[in-house]
């Protein structure tokens, strides 16, 4: 699969972008958590809490990032060129999704290492569970990155990607507080994939857990967004 290989190669060759995406959550983590090494937050060690929060936030950024490249390819006319080759759009989506995870997984691993360096200790099963659940919960955001990349003008894209991430992070409780913990608003928040990303982070804190509802929310968002992405792709390629 040359298309997969080159898609990943292009991600890696965009060095500044790749380095920044990996470094930013790391810098945030160390600058805040190193001073709070022995503090606690909502009953858990601060570094553990902040590591999972930054992991969610950084990984969300990483998985929407291919949207920026899609927008650039689109503005260069490459998407139209691709559409008139026998390459199936689905294969292209899959390759882009792979490169999204290629950015997200090192982000997570680096943050986990950073967490460990500040004394976070989890057993192997917990690390794996945390990584797996986060990876699953990121799926809707991968597709969101595609949609924004296909639709938003290149010069507005950074703002759009950042805005979507911050909005979902805020509503999902990534920043350490919930807009609501009961009532109808809470029911709405529980339908957001970012809420469950935060919950995935909390499984490592020994609480929350990932019920069936989490899977349903993540799967429904992903499945609902894929046709929207296909539509956006058609729109992006039919007229420059």
């Amino acid at each position: 699969m040359i298309h997969f290989r080159y898609e990943i190669l292009r991600t890696l060759r965009n060095r500044v972008f790749y380095a920044l995406t990996l470094a930013l959550p790391l810098v945030l983590f160390y600058s805040v958590a190193s001073g709070q090494r022995h503090a606690t937050f909502n009953g858990t060690a601060f570094p553990l809490y902040f590591m999972t929060a930054m992991a969610v936030y950084g990984a969300m950024y990483a998985v929407v990032a291919p949207g920026a490249r899609i927008a650039r390819d689109r503005s260069r006319g490459w998407l139209r060129q691709l559409r008139i080759t026998p390459l199936r759009a689905g294969t292209d989506f899959a390759a882009k999704a792979a490169s999204a995870y290629l950015l997200a997984l090192p982000t997570l691993v680096l943050l986990f290492l950073a967490g460990a360096s500040l004394g976070v200790r989890l057993d192997a099963g917990q690390w794996l569970e945390l990584t797996g659940l986060l990876a699953a919960g990121l799926a809707p955001f991968v597709v969101m990155g595609f949609i924004l990349g296909y639709l938003v003008p290149v010069d507005a894209l950074a703002a759009a990607l950042g805005g979507v991430v911050v909005l979902f992070a805020l509503l999902g409780g990534v920043f350490g507080f919930q807009l609501a913990t009961s009532g109808p608003l809470f029911d709405v928040l529980k339908c957001l994939p970012s809420y469950w990303l935060v919950q995935a982070g909390k499984t490592a804190l020994g609480g929350g857990g990932w019920p069936l509802q989490a899977w349903i929310v993540v799967v429904v968002w992903t499945v609902a967004l894929i046709p929207a992405a296909a539509l956006a792709y058609r729109r992006a390629t039919s007229r420059v």
Partner: protein
């Protein structure tokens, strides 16, 4: 291949009722001024734009299917090479999409891209980028090549090299349709010219036939104060332009027109009969269409 094709953007009719059949192996120029509907036509042939009316069929199947089968290669007007790859990697990537691609190095050589195959696609000159786009269109070994103004923005030398490479390719029996607004390109490289203006085919045939169709010759004469409409109805006259005291008659039959002109206007002086060039034919046929559409707009009011 095209039948009754039409496409409008809002109130602007980009392409109206176009019927065109291209035989396998033909090299056809889609010639027309800017805004004539060339790109829209090519987009519809590629399935990038959905026609409002009519159908496109390529080797008997809809465009999407022909593309899926790898039968079509295209150079679009906008299509900068993909970044973060070298030229060779990009062409290899394009090759990987097709069931029976050509050898990458051979294509790079034919298109003159071999010398800079190791360079990143972001550091190419306009002429180099065009060669890469040509190589990308070619490497899948498609039976039909659609080229939308392939030499736009390229210097004379680059253009000549391009057409040389193109010749080498068409000799292998490919069907080629290229859009251009360069007359000399259409004249020199196409077996057949389809002249379009305002989204409609105004002439179709070999270059010689187009010249004949547009009025093989024209008559220039000095005729002060003459009524242009009176000239227009003379036998053999196709179109009339007035430049001060001089009039220019584009003729389908210059001999008949000359006899009639002298009979009706014995005062005509400085008479000159000139053979038509493709350029005149082009101006004539596209302008005639403007006149016709202006008349029909007026009639509609």
């Amino acid at each position: 291949m095209l039948s009754g094709l039409a496409k409008s953007y809002g109130l602007v009719r980009a392409v109206g009722r176009m019927d065109l059949v291209i035989a396998p192996g033909e090299t056809v120029a889609l010639l027309g001024p800017n805004g004539a509907g060339k790109t829209t036509t090519i987009d519809m042939m590629l399935g990038l734009t959905r026609p409002d009316e009519g159908t496109v069929s390529i080797f008997g199947v809809p465009p999407a299917e022909a593309v899926q089968n790898g039968w079509v290669g295209a150079m679009l007007q906008t299509g900068a090479p993909l970044d973060h790859l070298t030229v060779r990697e990009l062409v290899r990537l394009m090759a990987s999409y097709y069931p029976h691609p050509l050898a990458v190095d051979e294509v790079l050589r034919v298109t003159g891209a071999f010398d800079f195959a190791g360079q990143r696609t972001t550091n190419l000159s306009g002429g180099q980028a065009q060669r890469v786009r040509f190589a990308s269109a070619l490497v899948g070994d498609p039976d039909l090549l659609l080229l939308d103004e392939p030499t736009a923005g390229i210097d004379v030398e680059g253009r000549r090299d391009f057409w040389q490479a193109m010749r080498a390719v068409t000799d292998r029996g490919k069907t080629v349709l290229f859009a251009t607004h360069y007359l000399e390109e259409a004249d020199a490289y196409a077996d057949r010219i389809v002249l379009i203006a305002r989204g409609e085919i105004v002439a179709d045939g070999p270059a010689t036939e187009i010249k004949a169709q547009a009025g093989s010759r024209s008559i220039r004469a000095t005729l002060p104060g003459v009524d242009v409409e009176a000239l227009r109805v003379l036998p053999g006259v196709r179109n009339v332009q007035r430049h001060g005291d001089a009039v220019l008659l584009s003729c389908a039959d210059a001999d008949a027109a000359l006899v009639a002109l002298l009979a009706a206007f014995p005062g005509a002086r400085d008479i000159e009969v000139t053979g038509g060039s493709l350029e005149e034919a082009f101006l004539e046929l596209t302008a005639a269409d403007v006149d016709a559409s202006r008349r029909s707009t007026e009639a509609a009011r």
